[in-house]
């Protein structure tokens, strides 16, 4: 039952092959028995899930139930859930029970989807290995001595281990696509503003975007159909016409032009990854797409620009955690200053502190122009590279990550080495473009991801191209040994 895709679960619930309660119980049982070895959940909402499943079963009997009615999924622990702890992977919010639901959570609730629990993540979504979580690292189901990627490591690991058929996630610099790549999944980050950020705990507000992790492009389309919405409560949400992403999955991609950026196949790319990505490109040619070499000349500046802009926004966003209104408060503060500094000093982990300090530095008087303003200008150059490229091509293709999953601690002492993990994913966040990762093979038994980048609001075309690839290949059907 756990190997079914979301599309199959939807069909079988309607054909009454099993009930929502039965499949929910099945996944809850798997989480209980198997998750201790992966640590992909921070909170399992068993009672609530069973109640939701029971209610969904009644609706399914009545007929006319929404698509995801009764389908069990998991939420990344960054989305606020009314009455259910939302930690964002931090000691700071270990005791935080939000009094409201995020819009994304509300969107799935309206569908009567069943929520199995909240997934583990890097603290405040800052990390590419899930090693910065206050709740301990998540293990990659493909190789338990390796990281699952991050920051949405828990969402990725639980879907890869078949503990949930799909999960919500967020992507600020690669936090959906990189774990998708490392765990052999399909993961899509939509256009900036496509998904509401209301109730999604903010890291870098001009880059953060919600998306999904699933096993297939079809499932991603089904989940994104529900997640995407215009929301007045998020002032940066874009009021752009909504599409049915499942409607265009079957379209032929013959005649499509796919750009291959030279900069994404340079030094630092693992040769096995390169070989698998090149084979995938050949598959696209077989499907009738034309390929074309292109250049994104400012690519090398994406990581440096990101590590000014993201920390700057993070230092502003995380100033809300003051030990006064909610979250962690230190013991016996001697004065207000002591309350602030010790609450934050004791509850934030090293990487979060590092980014707040870097951000505070980049925004401080005398450095603002040299760092922040400079990075915002480079951001425009990076966006312009993509605008120019999309005058010539429909999609851009390349690797998602420089190499497959690495071992725990491998990049432990070197923040910059960890930052370079997102070298191919960060530019699209800076430009605000949609992008996805799909599996394109195994290197030494570990998954390798193929990245597709689309023009603004072209999620449908991206999912179409991903689905066509999955129609001709079976990489997305592979599962970790023993699962």
């Amino acid at each position: 039952m756990h190997n079914l895709t979301i599309a199959e679960i939807i069909a079988k619930l309607r054909a009454k092959e099993f009930s929502s309660t039965e499949i929910t119980q099945h996944f809850l049982k798997r989480i209980e028995t198997l998750d201790p070895q992966y640590n992909s959940f921070i909170t399992v909402t068993k009672e609530q899930a069973l109640a939701q499943a029971k209610a969904a079963d009644k609706r399914l009997v009545k007929g006319n139930a929404p698509a995801l009615c009764g389908v069990p999924i998991a939420h990344k622990d960054i989305f606020c859930t009314n009455g259910v702890k939302t930690s964002c992977g931090s000691k700071m919010l270990d005791n935080f029970i939000p009094p409201y639901d995020a819009t994304v959570v509300e969107n799935y609730a309206k569908q009567h989807a069943v929520i199995l629990g909240k997934t583990n993540m890097d603290e405040f979504a800052m990390g590419s290995s899930n090693e910065t979580s206050y709740y301990g690292p998540v293990k990659n189901p493909w190789a338990v001595d390796c990281v699952p990627g991050g920051s949405s490591g828990g969402s990725a690991a639980c879907v890869a281990a078949r503990l949930a058929p799909g999960a919500t996630a967020t992507d600020t610099g690669g936090s959906i696509r990189q774990p998708a790549s490392l765990c052999g999944l399909t993961g899509i980050k939509p256009t900036y503003g496509r998904v509401s950020r209301w109730g999604m705990i903010a890291f870098a507000s001009s880059l953060d975007q919600g998306g999904v992790l699933t096993r297939t492009a079809e499932d991603a389309a089904i989940m994104l159909n529900v997640m995407a919405s215009f929301d007045d409560k998020d002032s940066t949400c874009v009021d752009h016409e909504l599409s049915d992403y499942t409607a265009t999955l079957q379209d032929s991609i013959a005649g499509m032009t796919i750009g291959i950026p030279d900069e994404y196949f340079s030094e630092g790319l693992d040769p096995r990854t390169q070989e698998l990505v090149e084979q995938a490109i050949k598959q696209y040619e077989k499907l009738g797409a034309a390929t074309k070499r292109i250049s994104l000349p400012h690519s090398h500046l994406a990581v440096p620009a990101y590590y000014v802009i993201a920390p700057a926004e993070c230092s502003a966003n995380l100033s809300r955690f003051d030990g006064v209104r909610y979250g962690y408060r230190c013991e016996d503060p001697k004065d207000l200053e002591d309350l602030y500094t010790r609450s934050r000093g004791e509850a934030f982990g090293d990487e979060v502190k590092r980014r707040i300090l870097v951000g505070a530095y980049a925004l401080s008087a005398g450095y603002y122009d040299a760092y922040y303003s400079k990075a915002q200008k480079v951001r425009r150059l990076i966006k312009q590279d993509f605008v120019n490229a999309f005058n010539e091509v429909d999609l851009i293709i390349g690797p998602t990550c420089p190499s497959p999953a690495f071992k725990f601690g491998a990049k432990g002492d070197d923040p910059v080495a960890m930052y370079l993990e997102d070298i191919y994913t960060i530019a699209t966040n800076l430009a605000g473009l949609p992008a996805l990762s799909i599996p394109c093979g195994l290197a030494d038994g570990k998954p390798v991801g193929l990245q597709l980048i689309g023009n603004y609001f072209q999620e449908g075309r991206l999912l179409n191209a991903a689905h066509q690839f999955q129609t001709e290949t079976d990489f997305h059907t592979l599962s970790p040994e023993g699962i």
């Binding site: 500046l301 590590y307 230092s315 915002q376 150059l381």
Partner: protein, 93 residues
């Protein structure tokens, strides 16, 4: 980066850093600043800074009340409250 600079930054950001970890923090922040220093070589003459990927502008809404009073549920999760107020250590001596 000098330790004094880190101490000052930590004070500005209201984050207590232990003396034992100060040197390590300074070292890693220096590495990050070396990475972002690569930006200086970019030619950005006549380029406007970009704050929003779609260059969107702030939306306006009707000036009507949309939020109801929820102080009870908001304060229920606060570390310390009294008489509907958030409690902090004494500020005025």
């Amino acid at each position: 980066m000098e330790l004094k600079t880190i101490e000052n930054l930590a004070k500005l950001a209201r984050i207590h850093i232990n003396d034992e970890t100060l040197a390590e923090t300074a070292k890693s922040i220096t590495e990050v600043l070396a990475l972002v220093g690569q930006l200086q070589a970019a030619d950005t003459d006549n380029i406007q800074p970009m704050a929003h990927p779609l260059d969107a502008v702030q939306r306006l809404r009707e000036d009507v009340v949309t939020e109801t009073d929820q102080h009870a549920s908001f304060q229920a999760i606060a570390p310390a409250t009294e008489n509907n107020l958030y409690l902090v250590p004494k500020v005025i001596g």
